[in-house]
């Protein structure tokens, strides 16, 4: 690279010039990327060593060979397998429900005419701003009344819909779904439900996929409400994780192995589909 003339041909050349023009930009971004990735990498390091190795100075900086032994310890200490299954059930159900109902309501708000539409949409947007913790005490009392405490319903049912999803799909469909297409469908004698199934759902698919991924992540990572309403012997993965990591015995290896097991599925999904997820966040942001 050293002796290359500054105006090497093509796109690659332009980028190389950019690299040379902004060395500080790259340096900063690489540093920030390092700090972003390092803690995740560190959890893998700790999870693949035993406690004795982590107490050494300097600590190891490369993965060790103890990962599987630690994982089996995690599964022996807490109901971690059950927690993983529970979290899949909870996050899966919530994702399907949120995506479906948001698309349905988003279609109505974006493309159907009815009385009170603007007022109801405004109400939806406003409620996005209200802190969820405000209602948590009565919600808990409601769960006691319904005798749902300790059961997965208590985590699933309140999360089956949310205002963000409806707003997100409304935004997307009002831009991406051509009204002429719906009118053509009407002329052909389609009822509203048929329009939804055959025109709206295919058009909504890209946004629904992004919403689904974001919803799954949020549900998988949710901690506070499951902690309040579930019991330690039938937890979600985050609750089980917090049990692993707290207590009098400092067993960091155990806690970070649990962290790695609980996080890696999401990181994997994210690395595979990261481009779309980022696109979705950035799309939602401009409108927001």
């Amino acid at each position: 690279m050293r002796g290359k003339p500054p105006d090497a041909r093509g796109n690659r050349g332009a980028r190389m010039r950019a690299l040379r023009k902004h060395p500080l930009t790259y340096l900063t971004l690489v540093a920030v990327a390092f700090f972003s990735a390092f803690p995740v990498y560190w959890s893998v390091i700790v999870a693949s060593h035993d406690n004795a190795a982590m107490a050494e100075m300097p600590p190891p900086l490369l993965p060790g060979g103890n990962f599987l032994a630690n994982v089996s310890r995690v599964f022996d200490t807490t109901p971690f397998a059950l927690a993983l299954v529970n979290s899949f059930v909870v996050a899966g159900t919530i994702t399907v429900s949120v995506t479906f109902f948001s698309t349905l309501a988003g279609f109505a708000f974006a493309k159907l005419r009815f009385r009170g539409r603007n007022a109801l949409l405004l109400l939806t947007v406003v409620t996005m701003m209200v802190p969820t913790q405000l209602g948590i005490i009565p919600l808990y009392m409601l769960m006691i009344k319904l005798e749902w405490t300790g059961k997965l319903y208590a985590v699933i049912v309140p999360a089956l819909v949310n205002a963000f999803g409806v707003f997100f799909m409304t935004q997307y469909l009002s831009r991406a779904l051509p009204t002429e297409l719906l009118e053509a469908g009407r002329i052909d004698g389609c009822g509203t439900w048929r329009l939804f199934r055959h025109i709206v759902v295919p058009a909504a698919r890209p946004a629904a996929a992004v919403l689904g991924m974001l919803t799954f992540m949020t549900a998988w990572n949710d901690y506070f409400w499951p902690l309040v309403v579930l019991t330690p012997d039938d937890p979600t993965v985050q609750v089980a994780l917090s049990q692993l990591a707290s207590g009098y015995v400092r067993d960091f290896t155990l806690g970070l192995t649990g962290t790695a097991v609980a996080t890696l599925p999401l990181v994997l999904i994210f690395v595979l589909l990261g481009k779309q997820i980022i696109g979705g966040i950035m799309q939602g942001a401009v409108k927001g």
């Binding site: 900063t28 701003m129 009565p138 389609c190 439900w193 309040v228 917090s242 990591a245 994210f270």
Partner: protein, 332 residues
């Protein structure tokens, strides 16, 4: 109107499930009209019904509960007016929690948003490995709060933590991060910053990409430096987005709970709900949790929830006014 009202009587069943319109809806004007009238409401109904039951009702009911002496086990819940609020305002622990919340909020939100702005500005250039940078920056946001605290509690560990090891290396005394107000707030703010900076940077980047290139080109010709372009062009142009992120971040930082809860749990189980042995990092949300779900004083905790909400509104309003005045360099 009367035509529509007769429709249910003329047709049976009166409310055809949406799926039935498939069977030649066009041939029946009644059905067609009913479909157009009812469908929109039917489509938003699931959202609003569930939302009313599990979202709006608890919000409103909180106010009612807060006016009662209401416990988990008590059979009678006498009305006591504003007594819960009076007791709350005279509780030193409540004000301590309010202070901690504001302190951690400022320590995490201000540097976070400033750094996000700079990062977005850097990413908004023709760069190599654009996608790789974006994915790496968003990676922390994929990990759960619990995971973040577990990892950082290890990094901030007193005896075997990497941060203290590094401090040792450069000859600074080790810090027991959980022990004091300042150090625990810095540690918790670091966790929050780590998780959210990249996310906010991407939101800013999205807004920056909508700013017309020609403005920057003109500024470059005029000899404006990158820093001046950020201050003079970018910030004024994306101000609505900045206001949006300030509001969302403020609401989020007023509700911080998992970080202090789990950070304290590293010390002892008792220190978890109190936010450290001397409540040095107990936030308002954690105070609410202690009252509501450890001592099960539902009435008192509901009062705390309402006051918390009012504080959120106040702080959000204040921040909104501050950011609105921040005009950048356009009119300098």
């Amino acid at each position: 109107m009367p035509v529509v009202r007769r429709a249910p009587a003329a047709e049976s069943p009166p409310h055809p499930p949406p799926g039935e319109s498939r069977t030649r809806a066009a041939t029946s004007p009644w059905r067609h009209r009913l479909d157009r009238l009812v469908s929109p409401y039917a489509y938003i109904a699931p959202f609003f019904l569930l939302f009313a039951a599990f979202g709006v009702f608890p919000l409103i009911y909180t106010a009612w509960v807060s006016l009662h002496d209401w416990n988990l086990l008590s059979s009678a819940n006498p009305f006591i007016g504003l007594d819960n609020y009076r007791e709350l305002f005279s509780d030193g622990y409540f004000w301590n929690a309010a202070f901690n919340t504001l302190s951690i909020g400022v320590l995490s939100a201000a540097p976070q948003l400033a750094l996000a702005l700079v990062l977005a500005h850097l990413l908004n250039r023709p760069l190599r490995a654009q996608t790789l940078f974006r994915i790496t920056l968003l990676l922390p946001n994929v990990t759960s709060v619990v995971a973040v605290v577990v990892i950082f509690s290890q990094l901030f560990g007193r005896d075997f933590g990497l941060v203290n090891a590094l401090l040792d290396l450069v000859g600074i005394d080790r810090v027991y991060w959980q022990a004091n107000v300042a150090s625990s707030h810095v540690a918790i703010a670091t966790m929050i910053m780590w998780r959210w900076t990249g996310y906010n940077a991407l939101i800013y980047l999205a807004a920056m990409q909508a700013v017309p290139r020609e403005i920057y080109e003109a500024a470059t010709i005029d000899g404006a430096s990158a820093a001046r372009q950020l201050w003079g062009i970018t910030i004024p142009m994306i101000r609505p987005t900045i206001i949006f992120t300030v509001i969302v971040t403020t609401i989020g930082s007023m509700q911080i709970i998992a970080e202090p809860l789990l950070f304290g749990a590293q010390v002892s189980n008792g220190a978890a709900t109190t936010g450290g042995t001397d409540r040095q990092f107990q936030t308002l949300a954690l105070y609410l949790y202690e009252k509501g779900f450890r001592s099960f004083e539902f009435g008192y905790a509901s009062a705390a929830a309402w006051v918390m909400f009012l504080l959120v509104v106040l702080v959000v309003g204040f921040n909104y006014l501050v950011v609105r005045r921040m005009r950048g360099g356009l009119d300098v």
